[in-house]
């Protein structure tokens, strides 16, 4: 035997010290990386909190939460956040009405019906759709969808909740389709085989076996879609107008929380004014909203975790 590997390995044992230091320090580095996410959350909370407190020193929190009018400019400013919340919810509701059925249907098609090569093409195409900057969607809503809608709804004003809502929905479709499809394709094939072997059609396999089995993943994708809709900024800024209105009428112009924040950061409010601080209060509300949404999503996916 030309080389004595065993001995060589033995000699290299001197490396062991270095290795064991490495072995100890590496996890510390990774822990540090993991802590960044915690720091980010803390950073967001503090950033929002500090300025929000200043805001609530000027405006009572009761007024903020219960007021029905949002007009933070000029002499007769009023800071009732409800119109911004209803605006946000209105957009979210319309978006989900569009995105849920379409997204789920596409997911079912891709996961249960589509031939392999169709799936290979369609999924990336949907992902491109997801990657288009939202500002592009904004002008699409304003200059294409709104005029289209005006053909059907005679008096539809140029700014309304409907058009951006629909477009936000369109933007979310790929996300829901893709995530639900992931959830469905992780349902083991043995389950499909079991159902097919009983004489089920593809549709029955999809609706009675796969969808129930993937339900938690599907619901989680819905909720992520919801929080994406809540957080969407540019589409609504461009196409929904800037009128905070307490309304459920989808043909009216509204403003969302995100829309307001962008309006003020791009606008004229002077630093230190109540208006300036109000964006942090609105940001805080928005943050809490999405936080609740996400916690709900996590709860659901844990609670109804499928076990195969």
């Amino acid at each position: 035997m030309t080389v004595n590997i065993k001995r060589m390995i033995h000699e290299k044992k001197s490396n062991r010290r270095f290795l064991s230091i490495l072995e100890k320090s590496v996890p510390a580095f990774f822990l540090l990386c993991a802590s960044i996410s915690v720091l980010t959350t803390i950073g967001i909370t503090l950033t929002l909190l500090v300025e929000t407190v200043t805001f609530f020193n000027r405006i009572s929190i009761i007024e903020f939460l219960t007021g029905t009018e949002w007009w933070p400019f000029g002499e007769n400013a009023s800071y009732g956040i409800l119109p911004l919340i209803t605006g946000t919810l209105l957009i979210t509701a319309i978006a989900m009405l569009v995105a849920l059925p379409t997204g789920l249907a596409s997911a079912i098609y891709l996961s249960e019906f589509a031939p392999g090569n169709v799936r290979k093409v369609v999924k990336p195409v949907l992902e491109v759709l997801a990657g288009i900057p939202t500002i592009v969607y904004g002008f699409f809503a304003l200059t294409f969808v709104t005029p289209m809608l005006q053909l059907f709804i005679k008096d539809l004003p140029i700014f309304n909740a409907l058009s951006p809502g629909i477009v936000v929905g369109i933007m979310i479709i790929p996300m829901i389709a893709s995530l639900s499809e992931d959830a469905m394709s992780s349902v083991p094939d043995s389950m499909r085989e079991g159902a097919l072997a009983l004489g089920s059609t593809r549709l029955e396999v999809a609706l009675k076996v796969v969808v129930p089995a993937a339900l938690s993943g599907i619901v989680a994708s819905f909720l992520l879609g919801v929080s994406r809709a809540i957080g969407e900024t540019m589409i609504v800024s461009v196409a929904a107008g800037s009128t905070p209105t307490l309304t459920t009428d989808v043909t009216q112009s509204i403003q969302t929380m995100t829309g307001y924040i962008v309006q003020v950061t791009l606008g004229d409010a002077s630093y230190g004014s109540t208006t300036y601080y109000s964006i942090y209060a609105v940001g805080m509300t928005l943050f809490i909203f999405t936080l609740l949404m996400n916690l709900l999503a996590q709860y659901i996916s844990r609670r109804f975790k499928e076990e195969y």
């Binding site: 290795l19 072995e23 590496v26 996890p27 580095f29 990774f30 990386c33 993991a34 802590s35 960044i36 996410s37 915690v38 980010t40 959350t41 967001i44 950033t47 929002l48 379409t102 249907a105 596409s106 019906f113 369609v122 990336p124 949907l126 491109v128 759709l129 990657g131 288009i132 900057p133 939202t134 500002i135 592009v136 002008f139 699409f140 294409f144 369109i170 479709i173 059609t201 593809r202 549709l203 029955e204 994406r228 957080g231 969407e232 900024t233 540019m234 995100t258 924040i261 962008v262 950061t265 791009l266 942090y280 940001g283 928005l286 943050f287 999405t290 936080l291 916690l295 999503a297 996590q298």
Partner: protein, 292 residues
């Protein structure tokens, strides 16, 4: 003894097969819907923007004359921004994922980190904008620099990369770990030489998709104060910068109709870059899928 009425089963089968066919069509149309919208969107953009697309457009700076306006500063700015965002977010994201998948003990802190990451994934980008403005631009005195923007974007896409990396790592079969440990390799050696190489395609795919999200984000950079006019190229990460979506946003807000068309040209460039990134991701995924 026959509880199953074969006749009934026979009759029902026709109906079932019929609804199967119908629903298949409906599901198919739903998938097509997204693609049709995409087609309409693209058609409009290309019709408006194509006439302005030429080499000059790529090599000149912004201008008050639509026909002279170019996108050089924005492209360079976006590239610089990605040059900061990509390494920062990938190192942090992969580090976090490795920690969670390989080292973390199942305790409160780990659960908290997990929860945190999925929460951050849902936080609106404007909120990240506020964070970036307050912490990076002001508190850390980075100003409206590439690095401030890059850090903000890194945090924004961090959760996406973490989740993608976690999945990539989880997909590595146990037998690979066993093979390595059975050779007397330590944990870190196993991670470095077996886990990370095997997870690389997944990490890259996730990373590219996350970056393509970052490259199209407008709101947080608007809040940080990325610039609208800049007629020179950034020198280092402390320089001011503009990015594609902001330049596009700016053009669309001009009174002159021609600028709106120029904006479409900008969108074409942005889409092209996105498409490029996506195809690289698809390619990687395609090349390396189904290896075990």
């Amino acid at each position: 003894m026959n509880l199953v009425d074969k006749q009934l089963v026979q009759r029902r089968r026709k109906k079932r097969l019929f609804s199967n066919r119908i629903m298949r069509q409906i599901f198919f149309s739903a998938s097509v819907f997204g693609i049709v919208v995409l087609a309409v969107l693209l058609y409009r953009i290309f019709r408006e923007g194509l006439p302005y697309l030429d080499i000059d457009f790529l090599t000149s700076f912004a201008s008050r004359f639509p026909e002279e306006a170019g996108i050089k500063a924005a492209i360079t700015g976006s590239v610089w921004l990605m040059a900061v965002t990509a390494p920062v977010s990938v190192v942090l994201g992969v580090g976090t994922a490795v920690y969670l998948e390989e080292y973390a003990k199942e305790n409160m802190f780990t659960r908290f980190i997990r929860m945190n990451i999925s929460n951050l994934a849902g936080v609106p980008s404007v909120v990240f904008g506020l964070l970036g403005l307050t912490v990076f631009v002001r508190l850390m005195e980075m100003g409206r620099s590439i690095i401030a923007g890059g850090f903000t974007m890194s945090l924004l896409i961090l959760p996406i990369i973490v989740v993608a990396s976690q999945e990539a790592i989880r997909a590595i079969p146990n037998s690979q770990y066993e093979a390595s440990y059975a050779m007397g390799a330590t944990k870190w050696q196993t991670i470095r030489r077996v886990v990370l190489p095997a997870a690389l395609p997944g990490i890259l795919t996730g990373g590219i998709l996350a970056l393509s999200r970052a490259i199209g984000e407008t709101a947080p950079l608007l809040m940080i104060g990325a610039l609208s006019f800049i007629a020179y190229l950034p020198e280092n990460i402390w320089s001011g910068f503009t990015v594609l979506p902001i330049q596009i946003f700016n053009w669309t807000a001009r009174p002159q109709e021609e600028f709106h068309l120029v904006a479409s040209t900008g969108i074409i460039i942005l889409l092209f870059i996105l498409l490029l990134m996506n195809s690289v991701a698809v390619l990687i995924r395609h090349k390396y899928s189904k290896r075990y």
